[in-house]
């Protein structure tokens, strides 16, 4: 089973054929995992924000891949819905970044640090 999947994976590296949805999904998965790790391991609040941007980008890439008519053999694409969804995600990410940055600046002004491990005032 695993060997089959590995062979399936290496089949995909073929420069004479068009790419498919699964190629895009793999790139999106890498971006998502990197973003999740970034959110989990960084101690700088702005580093966590960058991780969130990476996660949202991985999701956007999946939306675009599922909406594109050039990537799959059947006609079950999301069509324009995928692109519209990713537009909404981009706009909401901009709003989220603005608010998160304001919060981070406020935190920095009150505690003179940007280390999230020091933000422990609310613990019981």
């Amino acid at each position: 089973m695993n060997v089959l999947i590995l062979a399936n994976l290496f089949d995909r590296f073929d420069l004479t054929q068009p790419v498919g949805v699964s190629h895009y999904l793999i790139v999106g998965a890498v971006l998502f995992v990197c973003g999740a790790l970034c959110m989990a391991t960084k101690r700088n609040a702005l580093g966590i924000l960058m991780g969130i941007e990476l996660v949202l980008n991985g999701a956007n890439l999946n939306f675009i891949a599922f909406g594109s008519p050039y990537l799959r053999s059947d006609a079950n694409t999301l069509g324009l819905d995928g692109q519209l969804m990713s537009l909404f995600v981009i706009v909401l990410a901009a709003a989220e970044a603005a608010v998160a940055l304001a919060i981070a600046l406020n935190f920095y002004n009150s505690f003179s640090t940007i280390d999230v491990d020091r933000a422990d005032q609310l613990q019981g």
């Binding site: 999947i5 073929d14 420069l15 004479t16 054929q17 068009p18 790419v19 498919g20 949805v21 190629h23 895009y24 999904l25 790139v27 890498v30 971006l31 998502f32 995992v33 990197c34 999740a36 790790l37 970034c38 989990a40 391991t41 960084k42 101690r43 700088n44 702005l46 960058m50 991780g51 941007e53 990476l54 980008n57 890439l61 675009i64 594109s68 050039y70 799959r72 053999s73 324009l80 692109q83 519209l84 990713s86 537009l87 981009i90 706009v91 909401l92 901009a94 709003a95 970044a97 603005a98 608010v99 940055l101 304001a102 919060i103 981070a104 600046l105 920095y108 002004n109 940007i114 280390d115």
Partner: protein
């Protein structure tokens, strides 16, 4: 006789490798300024992948809003808070190794899911070359105004568009207020 190289695939791999490599660099790098720079490159390569999937308008918006707007905001944040001791905050080695282990497991599951559906394998070369190239800006604009010219049986997005407009207004006012109120208080204290 080998077939000729299909150039969109070559460009896909080029930009995919750039996007993934710089995303990994964002995770592994401890310096916040370099992380911001790597993130710019990763997001720009993602925009190129959007173009390659036929989403020209979304790719342009990605470059304008994300690379041009959100990241400038992030870099301002980095500059406003970058004292020497915060520029480089290292993660401990144990935490990083656990994170990489968990990330590898998650990635394995996601990749397995991505390659296990036969319908997602992509078109044949002849079929892909026969598809017309359609600009998407006009249908997206009509969809946001509530009329779907591409798929008349699907619903438009006018309500969501309005909600997001008001949401953006409220959020930006709130962010400006949040960043401003603190200055007043600190000047009153000082």
């Amino acid at each position: 006789m080998a077939e000729a190289i299909y150039w969109p695939t070559v460009f896909f791999w080029l930009f995919a490798v750039i996007a993934c490599a710089f995303a990994v660099a964002v995770v592994l790098c401890a310096n916040i300024v370099r992380m911001a720079f790597y993130l710019v490159l990763s997001l720009a390569a993602t925009a190129a992948l959007f173009f390659l999937a036929g989403a020209d308008f979304v790719g342009a918006m990605q470059l304008l809003i994300y690379v041009g707007g959100t990241l400038v905001l992030l870099i301002f944040g980095v500059m406003l808070t970058s004292q020497d001791r915060f520029v480089s905050m290292k993660t401990s080695r144990e935490e990083m190794s656990i994170a990489i282990l968990v990330g590898a497991c998650l990635l394995a599951v996601l990749v397995w899911a991505a390659v296990s559906v036969p319908d997602w394998n992509g078109l044949g070369r002849a079929a892909a070359e026969a598809l017309p190239l359609e600009p998407t800006a006009a249908p997206i604009g009509m969809g946001l105004l509530g009329a779907r010219v591409d798929a008349p049986d699907r619903s438009g997005y006018l309500l969501i568009f309005e909600i997001i407009s008001v949401h953006l207004l409220v959020v930006l006012l709130g962010a400006a207020y949040l960043a401003r109120a603190q200055q007043k208080r600190s000047s009153a204290v000082g």
